[in-house]
Symmetry: C2
Subunit: 393 residues, 2 copies
């Protein structure tokens, strides 16, 4: 038995306690909690089979009372001594996709992002569509291609057609981009025909992850009318390995920046679910953007209420993401197509000019949020490196 | 032991042998094959644990050589005697969702449907988007709300705004519709970064089902720009309980009606995967439409090749559907919004006028296709009844 070391100012102190799935050499994937630079093996600490599972889904399905009790027990344990066999240095473990993704929905909840993309994709129209301030616009993405941070991203091939070209051509994407987002993981679902009210958010949502919704802008621009993005997004979506429980985000909750017109009643909550999360985007190790989540127009509670208001069921493992987080300033934009204004205003990264991603480039998104007593809690990071496209047939 | 009775001209003769998941009172769901009006229990007939599973997924994952051998064994068994304990009258069993749906993608492969919808949704523009003849347009739907035939459909609530209204209102959909489609089920997936070539279709796809992609047109019309349909579709998608194996569709294969412009090389197959499937749509028991699948512009082999050309992985249980099947004639339209031209030309159903679905209405889609020697094989049916919306909050 020994205490778990937590450095002064660590973003993984006892007020955070994010959950993940890890393995040690020769061992099976199992559930752990990150404390400082240590992974605490919950299957050993709590001796419960639910934590020997290779995903968080069985635990997440147990519901908010159980989440609260486990969090209290883990917090008490790390204030005292933890068995040495339950402690693994984070650098010695492999981190896996923390949950099995059921359905994945991607929203579009930043007014700055939606307006920027509108200007770039539809320069002759109003930047925001008429529906945008009435409902959180979103669409289903590909659950099967959600991967854990660190997974390489192979440059996708597909069809693209520049406005001045007569016909589309096939080949590797030339406008490969990122979208820095926050994702929310459903623990307790809802049956078909029911709905999750806007004030029931915390009864259903287990926690939050960082998301990089890799985007091939040239594929997307050609394919997306009228049924929305498909191959421009479906090749990979990366998530951080640590799921920060909602309970750790209490000090980060703030009012939304303001909604005008007033949303319909099913979208009006009594509770604040704006979140003061500060994100950082690094391109090949150089910071290029600091997207502030506090500017997001729609809250995650509104997203979930909208998602189920038609009676769609929700399942344990459903992931819904915010859409790109972009603030009002240029250095707050969470996608490179915005940051470089369609590629026309490149940025300098480690002395090289960049508009979109080149093979070998690495992008890392990290985030922190206020914790109790002036501390900050961390989401860790979601990172990925671009590999060359396979030779097209 | 006894022979399995198959009536003269049964669409479930020994050339069909579709797979499903069934249960008898007090028994667990398991895999069966339909022969005439009998369900043959494969867990008893073949004594293999893979057929004791509650879904086809484990069997589908075993691949095409195994599918062929099992089909041969079942065909041989039903030509001779089958143990009585393996035979259940289909009226005495409960039929379940036959496979666990991994990801669900809905295409838009009928030129007649896409053009009709374009005229109805965007009357001031060209009916077909510029991309439509270059790629099979599709989008991800909600896998978690795919339900088996016979499941009631609760009328969805949501936001809708007529063109002459200033603001959206919330309430039950007033334009509830169907989409008669064929769906294809992936048995053998492909890893991330790989692709499934257009001529590898039969190495990956296990079989086909009927699909009713229930659609709330008022919700869809308001929400779908710019990211595509979401709540207008996500409340329920019904599939038939029997998966017709590709091997049973050999006699139904025909050339596509013709593609101009010639598709890019990755969409050019050597094999014909047009399908001469005849669908019938019944509204409260009265036939209202006969959508012919042979007019579809894009083949399912092209859909799967497109779906994975960006390196997206495929999984056992992935479902991709054709989109509404509509032919050139009015009585061949597979969605009521087309059949009634946006509700302006109602149809008479059992003496009552109908434009969209009313509470209590039942829709049944069935289909047959050519089998060997002038026979026909059947898909069975996908049916559902509309239940009233829950009182909106």
């Amino acid at each position: 038995m020994s205490t778990v070391a937590v450095g002064e100012g660590s973003p993984f102190g006892p007020a955070n306690l994010p959950y993940g799935v890890f393995s040690t050499p020769g061992g099976a994937p199992r559930v752990g909690v990150r404390v400082g630079d240590t992974v605490v093996d919950l299957s050993v600490l709590l001796g419960d089979a639910v934590f020997a599972a290779p995903s968080l889904n069985p635990f997440m399905a147990q519901g908010p009372d159980r989440w609260r009790r486990v969090r209290e027990r883990v917090a008490a344990a790390v204030r005292g001594d933890v068995p040495d066999e339950a402690q693994h240095p984070v650098r010695d473990v492999r981190l896996h996709l923390p949950f099995e993704v059921a359905d994945y929905v991607d929203f579009y909840a930043s007014e700055h992002h939606a307006a920027n993309l509108g200007r770039l994709f539809r320069p002759d129209s109003e930047p925001l569509m008429p529906n945008w301030k009435h409902l959180p616009v979103g669409y289903h993405g590909r659950a099967g291609t959600v991967v854990v941070s660190g997974t390489d991203v192979v440059r996708p091939c597909g069809q693209r057609k520049a406005p001045d070209e007569a016909d589309p051509t096939y080949g590797p994407s030339r406008r490969l981009d990122i979208e820095a987002e926050l994702g929310f993981v459903v623990g307790v679902g809802s049956p078909l025909g029911a709905r999750i009210g806007v004030d029931s958010f915390a009864d259903h949502v287990f926690g939050a992850v960082l998301v990089n919704d890799w985007s091939a802008r040239d594929l997307q621009a050609w394919e997306y009318v009228p049924l929305g993005p498909h191959l421009g997004k479906s090749f990979a979506t990366s998530v951080s390995p640590w799921v920060v429980p909602l309970a750790a985000l209490q000090a980060a909750r703030i009012p939304l920046p303001g909604q005008d017109p007033r949303p319909l009643p099913y979208l009006r909550g009594r509770e604040d679910w704006g979140l003061d999360v500060e994100m950082v985007v690094e391109w090949n190790g150089e910071e290029v953007s600091r997207p502030p989540y506090r500017h997001m127009y729609w809250s995650p509670a509104q997203m979930l209420a909208h998602l189920t208001v038609n009676g769609a069921s929700a399942r344990t493992g459903d992931l819904f993401a915010s859409g790109t987080v972009s603030g009002p300033e240029r250095h707050q934009r969470g996608a490179f197509i915005e940051l470089t204004w369609g590629g026309r205003e490149p940025v300098t990264v480690k002395g090289e000019e960049r508009a979109f991603l080149q093979d070998g480039d690495e992008v890392t998104i990290s985030a922190t949020a206020p914790g109790p007593d002036g501390t900050r809690i961390g989401f860790g990071e979601v990172t990925g490196t671009i590999r060359p496209a396979y030779a097209p047939k």
